[in-house]
């Protein structure tokens, strides 16, 4: 059922003018004038190439831009693209824009796109980040084809990344999601993804909308909703996603959007995650991972220093969250010098699981629990960087896989602390 409150009268009018569509591409924006045009052109080119005979629409859900972003989206001409495109598009490519609020909210933006897709009865829907300036037109068919033609319900991307990029995903979000829900989805928190009408409607109907107060992290919730709801998932290799294109370089906000949502999901999905062990691979188009190795500047010393300071200063906070054994072990490794320092995978997994259990019990403000994990994450990242300093792509992949297996092996420990904490 379409959620009336999300759709403004103006948007409903625009959607009625468009009529039913086969494919909808959603573009949530907020002050993205500098990057949005090439993204819109890539979407248009991708739609012309991949779906020339389908009825398609681009829906821009804007969170109160003041730099003219919506005008750039709706005004982007496709005439040049049509000329350069050898085939012939039979349908009109609609492009509409709506302002859902004066302040951005990833959740409301996504819900607006989902509600529009439901109203237009779109069979397949993709969401694209307005900051993906390196996006290639073929990303669109790679995301949408499995949903539109092969009946998959959720398509998440796989990007070519530097080995030291996306470390929160590779060291926590991916391994923990995989261990909990049993599916090896490499990018559960994706800025580009596609989904079916079935999944969109399910999410709209069941989204509790209260996982976190900042209204973000809805992308991860959609992925978890697909897994726990038994929907068919798929991965598509897209290409290079550079560091600058990923939103959220700041650690704590990034943790709120990902780890906060993941921890919140545990309570609601207890039956789903507590009943099985191990994990299954997800059907994938193209490479399952591609890692680049060029050298980048990372301040390792600062990471270690922030870990050591965090363990010392936050002791009263950690006493309420961690078991005495884990805390003692963290305090021990915090005294080690840079050369001897090692934050073992097992200790990291135990730390994360104890944080998750404390989060469920709300031993203190949940936001404080997430903030408390940040310095410990920095310590773990220091070890990851040291371990993989001169590793090849295969070795990095092997190390991530071994961490994932550690998360899976220690899952009974999560249940144990979960039950104890309860």
């Amino acid at each position: 059922m379409v959620e009336e409150s999300v759709l403004t009268d103006d948007l409903v009018r625009q959607l009625i003018n468009v009529g039913e569509v086969d494919i909808l591409v959603g573009l949530p924006t907020h002050n993205n004038a500098r990057s949005v045009e090439p993204v819109v052109h890539a979407i248009q080119a991708g739609l012309l190439q991949g779906f020339p005979r389908e009825r398609v629409v681009i829906v821009n859900a804007d969170g109160g831009s003041r730099d003219g972003t919506p005008d750039l989206v709706t005004g982007a001409s496709i005439d040049d693209l049509r000329r350069s495109y050898k085939g012939y598009a039979l349908r009109t490519l609609h492009s509409i824009s709506t302002r859902y609020a004066n302040n951005p909210s990833a959740r409301v933006g996504l819900r607006t796109i989902l509600a529009a897709a439901e109203l237009l009865r779109a069979k397949a829907c993709a969401v694209v980040s307005p900051e993906s300036t390196g996006m290639e037109p073929d990303w669109i068919p790679r995301l949408l084809r499995p949903v539109y033609s092969e009946n998959f319900d959720l398509v998440t991307p796989i990007y070519r990344r530097h080995k030291f990029e996306g470390l929160l995903v590779s060291n926590l979000v991916y391994p923990m999601t995989r261990a909990l829900y049993g599916q090896r989805i490499r990018e559960p928190y994706a800025s580009e993804f596609a989904f079916s009408a079935r999944l969109g409607s399910h999410f709209l109907a069941h989204d509790p909308g209260n996982y976190d107060s900042h209204g973000s992290g809805a992308e991860l919730e959609l992925a978890m909703s697909a897994i726990t709801g038994g929907y068919r998932t798929y991965q598509s290799f897209l290409g290079t996603k550079s560091q600058g294109e990923r939103e959220g370089g700041d650690l704590v906000p990034a943790m709120r959007r990902t780890v906060g949502v993941l921890f919140s999901s545990l309570e609601a999905n207890f039956a789903a995650w507590s009943s099985h062990a191990g994990s299954q691979p997800v059907p994938t188009l193209g490479s399952e991972s591609q890692v680049t190795l060029e050298s980048i500047r990372v301040n390792r010393k600062r990471l270690k220093q922030m870990f050591t300071a965090g363990v010392a200063e936050l002791e009263p906070v950690f006493r309420s969250i961690l078991s005495s054994t884990t805390l003692a072990e963290l305090q021990r490794i915090a005294t080690l010098g840079d050369d001897d320092f090692h934050y073992p995978a097992e200790l990291w997994v135990r730390t994360v699981y104890e944080f998750a259990a404390s989060y469920a019990k709300s031993v203190m403000s949940r936001d404080h629990i997430i903030q408390g994990l940040a310095p410990l994450y920095r310590g773990r990242i220091f070890t990851f960087l040291e371990e993989n300093r001169s590793s090849s792509a295969e070795e990095v992949e092997k190390n991530i896989e071994s961490l994932c297996l550690e998360f899976e092996r220690l899952k009974p420990y999560l249940l144990e602390v979960w039950n104890t904490k309860k």
């Binding site: 996306g166 929160l168 959220g248 922030m306 300071a309 936050l314």
Partner: protein, 234 residues
Amino acid sequence: MRELIWRELTQAGEEIIREFAHLLPRLIEMLIITLVGWVIAIALKWILRSVLRLAKFDQLSENSGASQLLNKAALPSSTELLSRFIFWVAWLGFILLGVSVLGIGGLQAHISRFFLFLPRVFLALFIIFFGLLAASFFSRATLLAAVNSNLPSPRLLSTSIRTLLIIFVVSMAFEELGLAEQTVLLAFGIAFGAAMLSLAIAFGMGGRDLARQFLEKRLVREVKSEKEDEPSPL
């Protein structure tokens, strides 16, 4: 003479008996009120304890730091303490109500003053509890933010925030109770002003390098390059 004494004694005894007979129903009334009050107070205590347990009040108290204070003072849990407090306030109220039935002159005024004072006590306790909760929350928030921003002396910052808030809350509670209002306000003003002044002097004079470092971190673009040196989390 003997007869006179006997008559006077008999008269006095009769008067005492008459007075006692006059007082007896009131005494019985007082005992009944006290007994009924005890039953009601027990019921109130039981209801409050259940409600507080359902609302996880002990957890809230632990978060506020109130539980630690109670533990140090070898007192029971906040739920138990509040339940017992309500029991005694309710029962004492009924006892005083019963005593007022006796009609002893002068006592009425004290009793009504006691009942008028009760809401202020409740409000003061309310202010202290939620004040401690706020102090604990904001000091922890400061500690976490300072650690994650790599600021120097996070615990000192956090403790300062906590202490200032507690002083503020206690002075508010005293003001509500009407106890030494002027003294408390003056003491708070002096303590707060002195703390701010000493912090400013310490930060500006004693910690010139620290101040420069702090301001550079806040204002100069160097901080950006530091952030760029941290690997992208997403």
